[in-house]
Each structure stands twice: as C-alpha cells, then as structure tokens.
Symmetry: C2
Subunit: 207 residues, 2 copies
DNA sequence: GTCTATACGGAGATAGAC
DNA sequence: GTCTATCTCCGTATAGAC
C-alpha cells in the first residue's frame, strides 16, 4: 500500500468513475461533468487522456471486457480438466464479477442489479461507427465462441444448441437480477439457480 | 382506411414516434426535438399532451405494456384449454409483437433486435420516482405472476422453479436477438428455439 | 499533467398568436 | 389544439496558465 498522498492517476480515477456511473445510470444519461466530479478531475484532464466522451466510453468497455475475460479465465483454470465444470464455468465467473481490483467503491454492491453492461451499452450506442462498438462485439463473440468450444469439449451431440442454451441461461440470469431489483418490496424473489440448470442442460446434451 | 387528409391526432403521432425512437436509440439518447421532427408536431403540442419528456416516456411504456399484455392475452386465448400450450404462450406472443396496429413504420422490422424495452428502460431510468417506473414494474410483475400461474395450471411440481426457467428462456431469447444483431457479418447466428426449449422444460417439471 | 475559466451547441421547456 | 419564436440551462469541449 502506497501512502494516500500518492493518488491514483487521473486516468484510472476517470475509468473507475465512468464504470460506476455509466453502468449504474446509463451511458447517455450520465454527463461527463458527473464523471469529472466523481473522479475529482478537471475537464481538460479528461480530454488529455481520451478523445472525448465516446473515447471514455470505449475505454470503459475495453477495460470491463478485459476484466471479464480474465475472471472467466480464472474460473476456467480452477476447473482443471473437469469438462463438465468447464462447460458451466461462465456462471462461476459471474459470481465473482466484478471483483473491483482498482476502484473499490462500496456502492458496487448493487452493480449486479444492472444486468449485462455490454447488452445495455448496445442499446444506447447507435451504430458500428462508435469507438466502443468493437467491445460490444467482443463480448458477444467471446460468449458464443467459448461456450461452443466448451460444449464441444464436454461431448455435446450438438455443441451449437447447447451453447445457445447456456447463453440463454447466462442472459436470463443477468436479466433476473434486474427484474429482482425492480420487484423489491414484493415478496423476496426466488433465486435463479443458473449454474444448476446449466449442469442439467449439459447432462441432457451428452446423454 | 380514412382519407390521408384526416391525419392521426398529434398525441398518437407523438407516441408512435417516441416508440420508434426511444426503443431503437435509447431513451436518454433521444432528444424531444427528434421525436417532434419524426412526429411532425410542434414543441408546444407535446407539452399540451404530456407533462414533459418524462411524461412522454411514461405514456410510451404504458401503451407498450398494454399492447404487450393484449398480445399475450390473444396468444393465450388461441390455446384454448391446452395447459401445455398455455404455459409456453408467452413465446407465441413474442413472435407476433409488436404488431404495430397504429403507426406502421417500415423500420419496425428490426424492432426485435433491440431486446426488451422494459429492461432497457430500467437501466436508463434512475429511480422509483420516475413516472414511467410503474410500467417497468408492471412488466416484470406480469411475467412473474402469469408464468407462475400457468406453470401451476400445467401441473408443475415446483411452479416457481418452472416459472423461473420460462422467464430465463424469455429473457434469453430477447437477449439472443440483440447479440445476433451485433454479430451480423459473421456466419449467420444459430436460431434460438425458445418455445421448444420451454416445452421441454414444462415436460420435465410435470413428469 | 493538471488546473481555472470559458466558449459553444443542443436539449428541455415556455410565451403568446392563430 | 396547434403553431412560430424564443428562453434558459446543462453538457461537451477547448483555451491558456501553472
């Protein structure tokens, strides 16, 4: 631990603030001045590090994608050679993400309630011209390709079909968190056992 | 068909324009002036019918919720007494929605590519104070309550669990459309047979 | 690299006539 | 009910000093 006088560099603070705000309030609804205030950074400093708001959005999603892939890598490594566990490792990764290695804001607790950051950004970002678009694509491509590969390794008779089911469980689990957040105040929501359902799906596809 | 001189009332044109733009570009990213241009309506007319942008957003989601519920009602009615078909009727409704009874903009074809309008709005709308919040809640509550009821009618041993699986398939199917839209240019996406998977889930839960 | 101060455009909203 | 014209403020971005 360095002394508190050695502050986190402005670029990191900007990305941490952008992560919190863009994900919790939405990208378009969050002004750069809100990010600046949260990061305690002056406007000109933002434009010294990023091309503008679009560049900041792209950097935010780039970092999030890298961390998400790393979390999945670690979950995969923890599975060893167990092809069944590997096939459902995406749900282990989901349980530990985001781990907040840098920022560490306490409000990140309900981060999970906001669903998939990439799907949410896909709705807000107009077209392929946006500098953040490659990272939206990267997330969907990673999920599609890895789940297909893992389904194949697990011995699925139809890897594409199993991968599709696993992806639906993944997206369904994330959506369930958002819906649970909306319905607070009602009777507590039924927990959604995505990993168990995924294990059952793998079993069906390899029987 | 009425004569073209009898134009659709301004309020309807505003809601049609809001539906197109809010859903395809996002709510916060869409300015009221864009809605006004699309609807060919003057600013003051908007404020004569709605309290402001927030009121327009609420009215848009209210109407969308009503139409969605009607579509599901009709799909249910078409099932008759077949409890198995009724349990998966939400996917029949999904296949016919939105039917565009009023507006009828040709660009509504890729409307499906944008995922669930209520989940998307939930990410963009800050808190329960927003006038549109009740409609976000209504969508999740309708899905939860109806799916549970239908799962129970179908004879599921654990209606809550089956309802959760059906909801995951529903959200998974909508998310799959968004991901498919992102990955265009790649090999064509594998179609996601949500209704068939739902039928299988019902069968497992009633065996 | 980071700051203060400011320019500029667009977005939400209103006034008042028809 | 609908229009034209306008007002204000906020959000994005830049200029120039330290």
């Amino acid at each position: 631990m360095t002394a508190p006088s050695a502050r986190t560099p402005a670029r990191e603070r900007l990305l941490d603030a952008a992560t919190d705000l863009f994900h919790s309030r939405g990208i378009a609804a969050t002004g750069v001045d809100a990010v600046l205030r949260r990061a305690e950074v002056a406007p000109a400093t933002l434009y010294a590090h990023f091309s503008g708001k679009d560049g900041l959005v792209a950097a935010y999603l780039e970092r999030r994608f890298a961390r998400w892939r790393e979390a999945w890598d670690e979950a995969l490594a923890a599975c060893g050679d167990d092809v069944l566990a590997r096939a459902v490792s995406v749900f282990d990764a989901l349980a530990t993400f985001p781990s907040n290695p840098g920022g560490g804001d306490p409000s990140a607790g309900d981060d999970a309630r906001r669903g998939c950051a990439f799907l949410a950004a896909a709705v807000e970002i107009p077209g392929p011209e946006h500098p953040a678009h490659p990272w939206l694509l990267a997330d969907s491509a990673l999920l599609r390709d890895r789940l297909r590969q893992l389904a194949s390794e697990a011995g699925a008779h139809d890897p594409d079909a199993l991968a599709g089911e696993l992806l639906a469980l993944y997206d369904g689990a994330l959506a369930a968190r958002v819906r649970a957040g909306l319905l607070t105040g009602d009777a507590r929501p039924v927990p959604f056992p995505a990993r168990d359902l995924a294990l059952a799906a793998v079993a069906r596809h390899t029987a």
